[in-house]
């Protein structure tokens, strides 16, 4: 596999995880700092099952996904009725806790030295198909009642509650979807890299997963995808020197600037569609001629 295919595969895998977080953080408005931990569960479960029980990888990845979903759901249950701060710190705690458990179960997981000789078999095409399926799934999900209720929970919890939306249930649903996609991405990563170390799933990774969602637009699937495609290749491309740290510095700065000046993210709630693009361009050119596209533009 060539260098570029390798990068594309990793970007695809991480994009699947980012899509999961987009449902949770972008559309339902709950911030998690520990989803790398759920990736770790998916990755290690799938790797261990395929090594020790020589399961075919698609079965082991499925098992990893299920376990990640199960654990994610169980630990988030007590916090879903609480304020976002609690959810954030519990996810952080769980994420770090999972990493610590993996590090300390050295007999099973290889500990800090890592787990090697994991059967491969994940190809760029497989990842691509799964990523596209994930996008389609989320797109469909958002257009159903369930997805719209999730957005209502993000926008105004109290109002959502008063029109009879069971907030707890939709937060749980978002958590289930995000954990499943992260577990899936973890499993794919294990069989693509053929080795795993606990540091692959540290807190910085959780931050990296959530930053495309914040920057791309917390209500925009296409915004998140575009931001993900731009940001996710960077860790591989900037492998030398202190470029990694500078990258995180710039991420931090971008987050502060975006939240201060455009809190809903670069794309806001808008989706990048051909129609919107046309409208935007039309508005842009017409405004330059001192004319508003729909007669309302000049008041803005």
């Amino acid at each position: 596999m060539s260098y570029w295919t390798g990068i594309a595969t990793q970007v695809g895998i991480y994009l699947i995880a980012v899509l999961g977080l987009s449902v949770l953080c972008g559309f339902t408005g709950m911030f998690s700092m520990g989803h790398a931990g759920f990736m770790a569960i998916g990755a290690y479960t799938s790797a261990l099952l395929s090594i020790h029980l020589s399961m075919p990888i698609w079965v082991s990845v499925l098992c990893g996904t299920l376990l990640a979903t199960l654990i994610g759901t169980l630990v988030s249950l007590p916090t879903l009725k609480l304020r976002d701060d609690y959810f954030l710190i519990v996810t952080l705690g769980v994420g770090e806790g999972i990493r610590l458990v993996i590090q300390n179960l050295a007999d099973l997981t290889g500990g800090a030295r890592g787990l090697t000789s994991i059967p491969g078999g994940v190809t760029i095409w497989g990842v691509l198909v799964i990523a596209v399926l994930a996008v389609v799934f989320i797109k469909l999900f958002l257009s159903t009642k369930f997805g719209r209720n999730c957005i209502a929970v993000r926008e105004e919890e109290l109002a959502a509650k008063s029109v009879g939306i069971n907030i707890f249930r939709y937060k749980l649903l978002a958590m289930v979807i995000s954990c499943a996609l992260c577990g899936l991405a973890g499993g794919l990563l294990a069989h693509y890299l053929n080795y795993l170390t606990p540091t692959l799933f540290n807190m910085t990774k959780s931050e990296e997963l959530i930053i495309p969602v914040i920057l791309g637009g917390r209500g925009s699937l296409t915004g998140t995808i575009v931001a993900g495609l731009l940001l996710l290749p960077l860790p591989e491309l900037l492998r030398f020197g202190s470029a990694q740290e500078w990258r995180m510095v710039i991420y931090g700065l971008l987050v502060v600037l975006v939240i201060t000046f455009r809190p809903s993210g670069l794309m806001g709630n808008k989706e990048l569609t051909l129609q919107n693009l046309k409208k935007f361009l039309a508005g842009f050119f017409l405004k330059n001629r001192g004319q508003a596209p729909d007669g309302k533009g000049d008041s803005v």
Binding site: L82, I89, V90
Partner: protein, 291 residues
Amino acid sequence: MFLQQLINGISVGSVYALLAVGYALIYSLLNFTNFAHAITVTIAAFGCYWFQALITPNLPASLLAGILVAIVMGIFIELFAYRPLLVKKARRLYLMIVGLGVSILCENLMIIVFTGRVRVYPEGFPTDSINIFGASVGLIDLIILVVSVLALVCVELYIEKTRTGLAIRSSAFNLEATALMGVNTNRLILTVFIIAGLLAGIAGTLLGAKYTTYTSLGTYMTNKAFIAAVVGGLGSLPGAVLGALLLGITESFVSAYISTSFRDLFAYIILIVMLLIRPSGLMGKADGDKA
């Protein structure tokens, strides 16, 4: 052994308490968690180290310098990161994201500037240990304990006895009503950040002396302190202290009698168990605003 671990635990717990009170103070006023708290701790330790390395290896002066740096950092964060959002009355979530952004930004900047090396103060605390009822206790642990308790008592007195303290207490009750009574709440919020910075500075300089100084020192410690604040009840100052002592003592016993590698895991287990049985924490108000 038992007594020794108990004193160690209380000593660690008192440092957690300094940080947890910082969280609780800001939370009680503004209802959000300051996720940028960690960097004030780290920067204090580095301030102390560089003061000794570059200017003069004088311990008390360097401690003061470190604390000063932390206070300046606290002011900086409030003015440049939170103030613009607070003025706009932004949602609490945005404040937390900005806090995370600031902490990612500063932590990595510190890794670049200070490199990942672990540093030891040129002039640290005495490393002797003394005997108390047969338990051998490190002098540094006792110093940390005494200094932390003094700092906490001072903050408590400040909040209970002064006019500003009264304003802080009333804003914890209702920030808007306090503003209507003619209190300059912007200045009050800044004051709270200064107090939190001061406490973080004390904690940071002491931690830098006890452990070494490294770039993730603050993150590691404030995560624990935040757990302590949640266990005690977010927004409650006595709760924060209680939670911190509880966590410190538990950690000390777990690492002594079970395993040091399970110490960190245990903190998170306590957190999750606490949220399961009593989400409002030991001394938190069980108000309906939790949803």
